[in-house]
C-alpha cells in the first residue's frame, strides 16, 4: 500500500452467476441447428449431466493430487532436450554447405521447432505448468518461437477457442473464418477454393495464426476495435521481425559461406513445422464425427454442459509416445479440451477413463490414426467446399435465382426460420 487512506468499498453480497463455476444443470434443452442434425446428448437427463460433471471434476482432482516432482522433472528435461537439440542443429547448420550437414541440421531443427511450439510452448502458455511457481516456466512470461506473440495467441486460443469450442459463430477455430468445415456453416462461393486456401494456410501456418489472432479478417471488413488492432498489429510485426532476423539473417550470417544453405534450411524447418502443426490441429476438431453447436445453445451453460461440449467436439489421434510428444499431446485433444490446464504428460493416463466414461454415457469418443483423421479432415474440407445439397441443378438454380433479398436471407441464415426464408435449403 502506498496510499495511507485507501478508499473502502463494500462489494454487494448478492451474487449474479457470471460463469460456469458452480451452476447446476437443472434442465436439458436443445437448440436445433439449421441442418436439423439430432442432438447427440438428447438421451442424457439433467441429473446425468451433473453426475458426469462430478466424475470429471473428481478425475481432475486425482491428477492434481498426484502432480509433483516427476511432472516438474518432465517439463524441465523436455525444455533441456529441446534447447540442446536446437542449439546442436543450428551449430551443424553453420556448415550447411555440406549436404549431410544440411540434412541432419534441418531435420534436427525441424524437430526442435516442433517440440518448442507444441509440447512446450502451447502447453506452457495454457498455464499447465504455472503450478510449479517457477518464474521462468510460467504462462504469464513465456514467449515462443512463433509469429504470433504469446499474449495475443493466449487470448484467441485459451480464452475464445477453449471457452466456445465448436460453437458456430463463436469459435472461429472452426475453419479459421476462411473455410467451411461443418454442414451448419454458411456456404459462400469463396468456399469453392477452400482446399487451396487450406493448403496455403498449412504452408504459412504460423503467419496465418498471427493474422487470425489479430482478427485481420474482421478488420478488413472494417469491423472491430481499430485502436486495439493497431496496437496488436505493431506487436505482431515486431515479433515477426524478430523471428525473421533470427532465422533468415543472424543464423545465416553466422554460417558465413553457408549463408544461403542455412537460410534454406531454416525456411525448410519452418515449413515442416507449419505443415505438421497444421495437420495435427486439423485433426482436433475437423474430422467427421466431431459435433458442433448452435450459437445460442450455450446461453446459461453449466459446467457439466461445457464438459459435454468439449468431449464430443474434439477428436483424438492414436499413436505411440513419440507421436503424443510431437503433437504436443494434442493427440489427446479430448482430454486436453476437458482439462486444458492439466500437465500434458498426464493426458495419456486419464484417456482410458475418459473413453470409458464416454461409452458409459453413450457419447462418441472420436479417435483414429493420424492418416485416417487427417484424411477425414481433408475430406470434410473438400466436401464442404460445395453446398450441402450440391447438384448441378441446385447450383444452376442458386446462380440463376440469386436476388438481393435472398442474399440477406443467406446472411442471417443462422437465425433464419422456414417462414422468413422459404428457400432455406437452397440458402445453405
Amino acid at each position: 500500500m502506498t496510499d495511507p487512506t485507501p478508499t473502502m468499498v463494500t462489494a454487494p453480497k448478492a451474487r449474479r452467476v457470471s460463469n460456469r463455476l458452480n451452476v447446476v444443470t437443472t434442465e436439458r434443452r436443445h437448440v436445433p441447428k439449421p441442418s436439423g442434425k439430432p442432438d447427440p446428448t438428447a438421451h442424457l437427463s439433467a441429473a446425468d449431466v451433473e453426475t458426469l460433471a462430478r466424475e470429471l471434476d473428481a478425475l481432475r482432482q486425482e491428477v492434481l493430487r498426484s502432480r509433483g516432482t516427476e511432472d516438474a522433472a518432465y517439463i524441465r528435461k523436455l525444455i533441456d532436450v529441446q534447447r540442446k537439440l536446437e542449439l546442436g542443429s543450428r551449430a551443424v547448420l553453420l556448415f550447411s554447405l555440406f549436404p549431410p550437414a544440411w540434412l541432419v541440421g534441418t531435420a534436427g531443427l525441424a524437430v526442435a521447432k516442433i517440440l518448442e511450439n507444441m509440447e512446450i510452448g502451447h502447453n506452457v502458455l495454457h498455464g499447465q505448468w504455472d503450478w510449479m511457481r517457477d518464474p521462468k516456466i510460467h504462462s504469464a512470461v513465456w514467449e515462443w518461437d512463433h509469429a504470433s506473440p504469446a499474449d495475443l495467441w493466449k487470448r484467441s486460443h485459451n480464452e475464445l477457442h477453449h471457452t466456445y469450442t465448436n460453437v458456430l459463430g463463436r469459435d472461429n477455430d472452426l475453419g479459421y473464418g476462411i473455410m467451411r468445415v461443418d454442414e451448419d456453416q454458411r456456404w459462400v462461393p469463396m468456399c469453392l477454393g477452400q482446399p487451396l486456401w487450406n493448403f496455403i494456410t498449412a504452408c504459412f501456418f504460423q503467419y496465418a495464426i498471427a493474422a487470425y489472432d489479430l482478427q485481420l479478417g474482421k478488420q478488413l471488413k472494417s469491423r472491430g476495435n481499430k485502436e486495439q488492432f493497431h496496437r496488436d498489429g505493431r506487436s505482431v510485426l515486431r515479433k515477426i521481425g524478430r523471428q525473421m532476423r533470427k532465422d533468415y539473417l543472424v543464423h545465416p550470417l553466422l554460417s558465413g559461406p553457408s549463408f544461403f544453405h542455412t537460410l534454406a534450411a531454416n525456411f525448410t524447418a519452418n515449413l515442416v513445422r507449419n505443415l505438421w502443426a497444421h495437420s495435427v490441429i486439423m485433426c482436433g476438431h475437423f474430422p467427421e464425427g466431431v459435433e458442433t453447436f448452435a450459437k445460442n445453445s450455450i446461453d446459461g451453460e453449466t459446467r457439466g454442459e461445457w464438459y459435454l461440449r468439449q468431449m464430443i467436439g474434439s477428436a483424438n489421434i492414436s499413436g505411440n509416445k513419440a507421436m503424443h510428444i510431437m503433437t504436443g499431446n494434442l493427440s489427446h485433444q479430448i482430454e486436453h479440451h476437458l482439462f486444458p490446464d492439466l500437465p500434458s504428460n498426464r493426458y495419456a493416463e486419464i484417456a482410458p477413463t475418459i473413453q470409458e466414461i464416454c461409452s458409459r454415457y453413450g457419447l462418441s469418443y472420436t479417435s483414429g490414426s493420424l492418416p485416417r483423421q487427417l484424411g477425414s479432415a481433408w475430406k470434410q474440407v473438400i466436401k464442404l467446399s460445395l453446398p450441402n445439397d450440391f447438384s448441378i441443378r441446385n447450383t444452376a438454380k442458386w446462380v440463376l435465382r440469386r436476388r438481393p433479398e435472398r442474399r440477406r436471407c443467406i446472411g442471417t441464415e443462422a437465425q433464419a426460420t422456414a417462414e422468413q426464408c422459404p428457400n432455406i435449403s437452397t440458402c445453405k
Binding site: A11, S18, D57, G127, H162, T163, D341
Partner: protein, 310 residues
C-alpha cells in the same frame, strides 16, 4: 547437510555469481521446490562472512506441519539446486561494537545470533547469551555455545522450558542482574519478544533492545476478508464465495479477465500476501511477505486478507 538436533539441520549453500554478500545477522529468502512447487522461506544466515570456501549456511528447524522446513531437515539431498534472494534484515551489530551485550534467544531464534557470534565474537568482550529450548538436546548449536562458554568467551545461560518453564522477563534480574546496562538483541517466538519489548519499555530502555521477528504477522485463513488492490489503491471487503474477479469488477477495479471458468489463465495476477481459496476444490494458496504467487482470480475467493498487485 549437517543434522544439529532431532529437528534441526544446517544446510550449506554455494551461491551463484550474482550473490552480493551479507552482514552477519541478516537473513535470506530461499526458494526450494517441494513436490515440484517452488516455495520461498526466509532463514537467518549463520555462516562466517569471511569463510574461504564462500559457502553460505542456514540452520533450519522443522516446525510441526511445516511443508518446507520438514522437507529441508528430512528430505533435502546434497547437490539440490535452491534459489536465493539477496540478503535483507537489520538485525546486525553497530560499529563500533558495543562493550557489553546480551543475546536473548529461544528455539531457532539462536540462528541469527549465531551468525553474529561467529563473525563478531573476537571483537566482543562481555557477552551473555540466554537461550531457551525444550531440553538440553534441543539446543541448536549447543556444542559450540558450551565450548565458547567453557573457554570464557561468553557467559551462557541455558533454560530448559520442559522442566523449568518459559522464561519470563522477571527472571532476568536474577539471571543477568546488569541487563539494563547491556545492548540487547532478542530473537524467538512472538510471545517472548512481546514480553521483552514491554519489559524494556517499562524500564525506559526501548532503544537498547533489538528484536528479530521471523514472522511479522501470522497469516490466518478464514472466510472472506479485505482484499487490497495495491496499484489501484482500493480496498474491497469480500465474502468467501465470490471470485476475486467479480469482487474487483464490482468495486470498479480494472481486472484482467478471460473465460471466467478457470481454464484460460487470462486473469492471473500476483498475490503478494494473504490467503485465497480455489472455489473448485477448496485448495488454499498462501502468500507471505515477499511472495508473488500468480492466482486465477476467476476461480479464487478471499480466505483471509489479501494484497493483490493490480
Amino acid at each position: 547437510m549437517t543434522p544439529e538436533t532431532r529437528h534441526a539441520a544446517t544446510v550449506e549453500i554455494r551461491p551463484g555469481r550474482s550473490w552480493k554478500g551479507h552482514l552477519p545477522g541478516q537473513y535470506i529468502r530461499i526458494g526450494i521446490d517441494v513436490d515440484g512447487v517452488r516455495h520461498w522461506r526466509a532463514y537467518s544466515l549463520t555462516s562466517q562472512t569471511t569463510s574461504t570456501d564462500g559457502l553460505l549456511s542456514i540452520t533450519v528447524k522443522a516446525i510441526p506441519n511445516g511443508k518446507v522446513s520438514n522437507h529441508i531437515v528430512r528430505l533435502l539431498s546434497p547437490g539440490t539446486l535452491v534459489h536465493l534472494d539477496q540478503e535483507s534484515g537489520d538485525f546486525v551489530l553497530p560499529r563500533p561494537l558495543p562493550a557489553r551485550t546480551l543475546f536473548l534467544t529461544a528455539g531457532s531464534g539462536i540462528t541469527p545470533v549465531m551468525g553474529l557470534l561467529r563473525n563478531h565474537l573476537d571483537g566482543l568482550h562481555d557477552v551473555v547469551v540466554v537461550h531457551s529450548a525444550p531440553t538440553r538436546d534441543d539446543v541448536i548449536f549447543g556444542d559450540q555455545l558450551r565450548d565458547w562458554a567453557g573457554t570464557g568467551r561468553l557467559r551462557l545461560v541455558e533454560r530448559y522450558t520442559e522442566t523449568e518453564g518459559i522464561l519470563a522477563p522477571e527472571h532476568l534480574d536474577e539471571l543477568v542482574p546488569d541487563w539494563r546496562e547491556r545492548e540487547a538483541w532478542a530473537c524467538g517466538p512472538i510471545g517472548l519478544l512481546d514480553a521483552m519489548e514491554s519489559h524494556w519499555a517499562k524500564a525506559d530502555l526501548t532503544e537498547r533492545l533489538h528484536t528479530e521477528r521471523f514472522r511479522s504477522a501470522l497469516i490466518t485463513e478464514g472466510e472472506g476478508g479485505a482484499v487490497t488492490f495495491t496499484r489501484q489503491r482500493a480496498v474491497v471487503e469480500a465474502d468467501g464465495a465470490t471470485p476475486i474477479l467479480d469482487v474487483g469488477e464490482r468495486a470498479g477495479v480494472l481486472m484482467p479477465s478471460g473465460c471466467r471458468m478457470g481454464i484460460c489463465f487470462g486473469c492471473v495476477v500476483p498475490l503478494k500476501q494473504g490467503v485465497v481459496r480455489d472455489l473448485r476444490d477448496g485448495q488454499l494458496t498462501i502468500a507471505a511477505e515477499g511472495d508473488s504467487i500468480h492466482i486465477q482470480t476467476c476461480v479464487s475467493a478471499v480466505a483471509g486478507s489479501c494484497e493483490i498487485d493490480l
